[in-house]
């Protein structure tokens, strides 16, 4: 919202500098985002009268003007064709700086010396205010020698205010002036534009008489109609054109400028219909019929829905209420008589229509934030007064209106107790003074409470806390209140199992050389193909956003792996060549028969690097078992037992994929990526794991055991077993055969290749036997160990 500092000062006498006002507005909830000095470099331009004008003796496209600024006559050369003797124009003498910073001098045009320049609107920095091609003409009554920058209001400062959605009342000069009045107790109104200047109340001429206004939609509680006749073509006064331009609107014509200026001043949008083209002498406000169409004055066609509100006349749609007028009754250069609408429309309805149709107009912006219901008629009268003052039309007829408006008198109480509780002050008199400067009226008062009537332009105030906010923000939260720590609770906070677990896991993985990533929770549909997921895989049916920003971010992730693959892929594409490990801790969103669940996971990915040379040799490279070590370190640190079973995943290498189980339930995978995926990503090898955090949240409690008092006795067993028999199975078999005396089984060698029988590999285990009440004899151990060997041989192991 742009605010003119000059205009603000015309309304209010403010006992503060611009900087103080900016600071105060910012601290009290109306943040000033910038202060712009639009024609900052312009200086030294004076008004001057053209005394003589003749063609240039040598160049026929130029004129020689004799100008007088009261301090003396000079010759100035100009190419502008729009001048006559007697015009008052902006003159830049040598030394004058233009808006773009150019400094003027004396210039010779084929023997005639031009003393500076006569200036156009563009050279003054405001091309929008030009009403014709050529030099800008100043009002005829302008005296020579005036500072044009000040005269036109180009010396203004424009404040850009960020208005919060609850403060629709600040979307006007009037609203901001009211706010500044409240902020500076010494401020005095100079001219309050809301003070109505009633017209002469004349009856409408017969030929323009109106039959009626009917309100058939609850979304329009008030509709006022005014009349303007005898409209003359032409621009609005230059000073108004400057203000409109500085405040971000384009000057168009006196009529349009008057309505726009009134909106900027009072916050009430209005709409002008050409009386000649309004289909009937009646207005009906109703809901649109689904599928109904209208062409708006920007030439675009819109299909309407029943939530849209229409202004119709004689059954024809002439405007989308609060959003934009229709092309059929738009005012034109030729318009003589104007029906002028000032109405109140429901904020939500206007906001939804304008958003759906993509028409963010100045009007819909204001209606969406609630327009003061009491300002409509005042606005029409304000526009009448402008038109009469500018002498461009006859206005001031009696305003017609229809209203379903019920304006309740809202009264809200403020108690000393709550004031004290929240703001630590019990000065309710001071609070009352603040509220009354904001336009609230004290209507009841007791020792400990006061009641206030709320003005119509503050629909945001409805409960006591709202009053406290008003008092708090005007008093300020900085100096008036201390900072202290609330002391009624003393215990240490509990960060919770999930957060603690995530903290520990990330610490462990980072120290194991993993880079932590945070990826978007979205996936592109292409991940299904990348991971070769079949249609019946739960992960291939992610939740889909109804309104994604793009297809690439249209699905909720069901696995963390694609994000990590993408990151590594991007790194490699940008020239990364070293081995790298990445991980992410985060949620996946799994579709269920009904609804979905959010599951916390950790996923790790290791890439062997484009350049596998390592200073200590290839044994340093990652493989499935280094990642298994990482998982085990997490599991052991948290007392979680993970089982690894030979398995398959659609994206896993068919010989190097493990299913992870916790307590018999699936908990994730550990695998090398399918070679075809490695080729596709041009990264090989890639190892990955993904693990549910749920088993970690409920670990077995940490327990310590008494040390064994008697030393163990060790025996080694070495054998050849068929390659399809896993080492884990053999170890389990040994454990069963060894019984309670066998305490530990450790694999220490795996051998395949030369010397191993076809289809077999060698496994060697070290077995520790021990009793807890005495030392074992060699005979006892040999006897049990022999039984183990016999059992193994019987199950097809070839003992060595």
């Amino acid at each position: 919202m742009l605010i003119s500092w000059n205009l603000l000062n015309e309304l209010l006498e403010i006992p503060a500098t611009l900087e103080e006002v900016v600071e105060r507005l910012t601290l009290t909830g109306c943040e000033v985002e910038s202060v712009d000095y639009p024609c900052e470099r312009l200086s030294g331009v004076l008004s001057a009268r053209i005394e003589e004008l003749s063609p240039h003796p040598a160049r026929k496209e130029l004129f020689v003007a004799t100008v007088d600024d009261g301090a003396g006559r000079e010759l100035v050369i100009t190419a502008a064709p729009n001048l006559s003797i007697g015009d008052v124009v902006p003159w830049g003498r040598p030394g004058t700086a233009l808006a773009d910073g150019t400094v003027l001098g004396v210039r010779d045009f084929d023997g005639v010396r031009s003393c500076g320049m006569l200036l156009s609107a563009e050279e003054l920095g405001v091309p929008e205010i030009a009403d014709e091609f050529g030099i800008l003409k100043l009002p005829a009554d302008t005296l020579p020698g005036e500072d044009v920058k000040r005269l036109l209001g180009l010396d203004d400062a424009v404040l850009d205010l960020s208005i919060t959605p609850n403060r629709g009342d600040l979307l006007s000069m009037l609203g901001v002036a009211r706010e500044v009045f409240a902020l500076f107790p010494g401020a005095v109104w100079r001219k309050n534009p809301a003070e109505a200047r009633p017209g002469d109340g004349a009856s409408w001429p017969d030929d323009l008489e109106f039959r009626g206004i009917s309100l058939e939609d609850d979304g329009c509680p008030l509709y006022c109609m005014g009349l303007v006749t005898g409209l003359k073509r032409g621009p609005s006064p230059v000073r108004i054109r400057v203000l409109l331009t500085l405040l971000g609107m384009r000057p168009i014509s006196a009529m349009v400028d008057a309505t726009n200026f009134a909106m900027l001043m009072l916050g009430q949008p209005t709409h002008a219909f050409d009386a000649a083209y309004l289909p009937a002498r009646e207005i009906t406000v109703r809901s649109a019929r689904p599928g109904e169409e209208i062409r708006t004055l920007d030439g675009k066609d819109h299909r309407l829905e029943s939530e849209d509100m229409l202004i119709t006349s004689g059954g024809v749609a002439v405007a989308i209420a609060g959003v934009m007028g229709g092309e059929n009754s738009e005012i034109l250069d030729t318009t003589e008589n104007v029906y002028l609408e000032a109405a109140n429309f429901d904020a939500l309805r206007v906001s939804r229509s304008s958003r759906r149709m993509g028409i963010p107009s100045e009007a819909s912006y204001r209606f969406s934030r609630i327009v003061d219901a009491r300002i409509a008629e005042t606005t029409l009268e304000y526009i009448f007064s402008l038109l009469e003052e500018w002498g461009v039309a006859r206005a001031g007829y009696r305003v017609l209106s229809a209203s379903n408006l019920f304006l309740e008198n809202r009264v809200v109480a403020l108690t000393r107790t709550k004031l004290k509780r929240i703001l630590l002050t019990d000065d309710i008199e001071d609070a009352s003074a603040i509220l009354s400067r904001l336009g609230l009226t004290e209507v009841a008062s007791s020792e400990d409470a006061k009641s206030f009537s709320i003005p119509s332009w503050r629909p945001d105030i409805s409960i006591e806390e709202d009053l406290i906010e008003e008092v708090g923000r005007i008093r300020g939260y900085n100096e008036t209140l201390p900072s202290r720590l609330p002391g009624s609770l003393h215990e240490h906070g509990d960060i919770g199992r999930t957060t603690r677990l995530k903290r520990d896991i990330r610490g462990a993985l980072i120290s194991r050389g993993y880079v932590e990533l945070v990826n978007y929770s979205f996936l592109s549909p292409s991940f299904v193909e990348l991971l070769r997921l079949p249609g019946d895989d739960q992960r291939a049916r992610p939740l889909q956003l109804a309104n994604p920003l793009s297809a690439e971010q249209s699905m909720m992730r069901t696995t963390l792996l694609p994000g990590l693959l993408r990151s590594v892929g991007l790194a490699v594409a940008s020239g990364w060549k070293d081995p790298v490990r990445v991980f992410e801790l985060g949620r996946v969103f799994l579709p269920l028969e009904e609804g979905h669940e959010e599951v916390e996971r950790v996923c790790g990915l290791a890439y062997g690097g484009r350049d596998p040379r390592l200073p200590h040799g290839p044994s340093d490279a990652d493989d499935l078992f280094t990642l298994k070590g990482d998982i085990q370190s997490l599991a052991e640190a948290h007392g979680v037992r993970i089982e690894y079973a030979q398995g398959e995943e659609p994206f896993g290498h068919r010989g190097q994929t493990a299913r992870l189980l916790c307590g018999g339930k699936p908990a994730g995978y550990l695998l090398r990526l399918k070679p075809s995926i490695e080729r596709e990503l041009d990264c090989s090898p890639l190892f990955a794991f993904e693990l549910d955090l749920a088993p970690f949240e409920d670990p077995e409690p940490l327990r310590f055991r008494e040390p064994d008092p008697f030393p163990p006795v060790y025996r080694d067993i070495s054998m050849f077993v068929p390659v399809e028999v896993s080492a884990g199975e053999v170890a389990d078999r040994i454990r069963r055969l060894g019984g309670s005396m066998l305490r530990e089984v450790g694999l220490f060698d795996v051998y395949s290749g030369k010397g191993a029988p076809e289809g077999k590999r060698g496994l060697a285990f070290s077995l520790a036997y021990r009793l807890c009440d005495r030392t074992l004899t060699d005979e006892e151990v040999d006897s049990v160990n022999a039984a183990v060997r016999k059992g193994l041989a019987a199950s097809g192991c070839e003992l060595r």
Binding site: N166, D494, R506, V568
Partner: protein, 346 residues
């Protein structure tokens, strides 16, 4: 008599010569055998003692024993010196180049936002706040309605939301956890809710996903002053030094009064009018907060006439950027490995 003495003298002289000539432990061992071994010179003399007249035997025996002791001591001493020389040589011959890189994996990298999240949680736990988590796919009720943002409220203009076909949505802030936690735990309550939030926004300064951290305290007789104290303590802990704070009135539908917190620019402390971080204002906007709206407390199942409190939200990504001097928001979520590794010394 004298012949034994003389013999011992000769043996000792020979020994001294040979022992000093020994340059390795093997040679030293040979010397030891030559004098103290079964056929060594000293052993042979000892055997001769029996043939001496009884009255001279004690003195002769003493002299021989004394010589043997001296020889042993010299050999032990020499052995120690040779061992030291030999082990030093052995160690030097197996020297390694300590400037070689370490074996195995290089250190990993922390993500600045994840790191900050955990740091902030620890700080707030110290102030008595417990972590509360909530779903990222949220119901309209918790995300809007219960936070005093009804359908008709213009604040919904501010928050363009991702929806699912069934009407659920991706939470636009962590505030829904407030109401969920109040309903579960009642008052008094002190919680902190970290998490991902989503808005339909994407440009260089907005990401459709970002990280927020919400705090909520509801108790009896809570003032704006209590909120100021908490937030200032938090900010000082995050940036490891006290920072000037400035409070600006603002608007959020779920708090009343609503306030925004600016801290002094962590880059220039307001001293550089051309500062890129604060754009010369000297202030950085870091938190939105306020006294919880009575409607929200009521939606949380708590009686607002007995309890009141405050809530705040901070953008973890922005604070991480300020704290760690990062310049691009979106790169944080693009899994940029080289970028994240560049921060190893964090």
């Amino acid at each position: 008599m004298t012949s034994i003495q003389a013999e011992l003298g000769i043996i000792e002289r020979d020994f001294t010569e040979q022992v000093s000539a020994a340059s390795s432990s093997e040679e030293l061992q040979q010397v030891k055998v030559a004098f103290l071994g079964k056929k060594g010179a000293v052993t042979l003399i000892l055997k001769k003692l029996g043939s001496l007249p009884p009255e001279t035997r004690p003195a002769a025996g003493q002299a021989v024993n004394s010589l043997r002791d001296r020889i042993e001591a010299v050999i032990e001493d020499k052995r120690a010196r040779l061992d030291e020389i030999e082990s030093e040589a052995a160690e030097r011959s197996s020297m390694v180049d300590v400037t070689l890189p370490h074996r195995g994996r290089s250190g990993g990298g922390v993500h600045p936002v994840a790191q900050l999240t955990h740091d902030v949680i620890e700080i707030l736990a110290g102030l008595g706040f417990s972590v509360a988590l909530g779903p990222e796919i949220e119901e309209d009720f918790y995300n809007f309605e219960a936070l005093n943002i009804p359908q008709s409220h213009p604040a919904r203009d501010m928050q363009d939301t991702f929806y699912f076909p069934d009407g659920s949505l991706l939470r636009t802030h962590t505030s829904p956890v407030q109401v969920r936690s109040m309903l579960r735990h009642g008052a008094p309550i002190r919680i902190v809710c970290p998490g991902r939030v989503y808005r339909r926004d994407s440009d260089p300064t907005h990401s459709p996903m970002f990280n927020q951290l919400e705090g909520l305290l509801v108790d009896r007789d809570i003032s704006v002053a209590d909120m100021k104290g908490c937030l200032e303590t938090l900010m000082a802990a995050i940036f490891s030094r006290p920072l000037k704070a400035r409070y600006r009135a603002s608007y959020f539908p779920f708090t009343e009064p609503s306030i925004e917190l600016d801290i002094e620019c962590v880059e220039c402390s307001g001293k550089n009018p051309a500062c890129r971080i604060c754009k010369g204002t000297g202030w950085l906007e870091v938190a939105g907060m306020g006294m919880v709206h009575p409607n929200v407390i009521r939606y949380g199942g708590i009686d607002p006439s007995i309890y009141n409190g405050f809530a705040w939200g901070i953008g973890l990504d922005r604070i991480a950027m300020l704290k760690y001097g990062l310049t691009d928001l979106r790169i944080l979520f693009e899994g940029n490995v080289p970028y994240l590794l560049s921060g190893r010394s964090l």
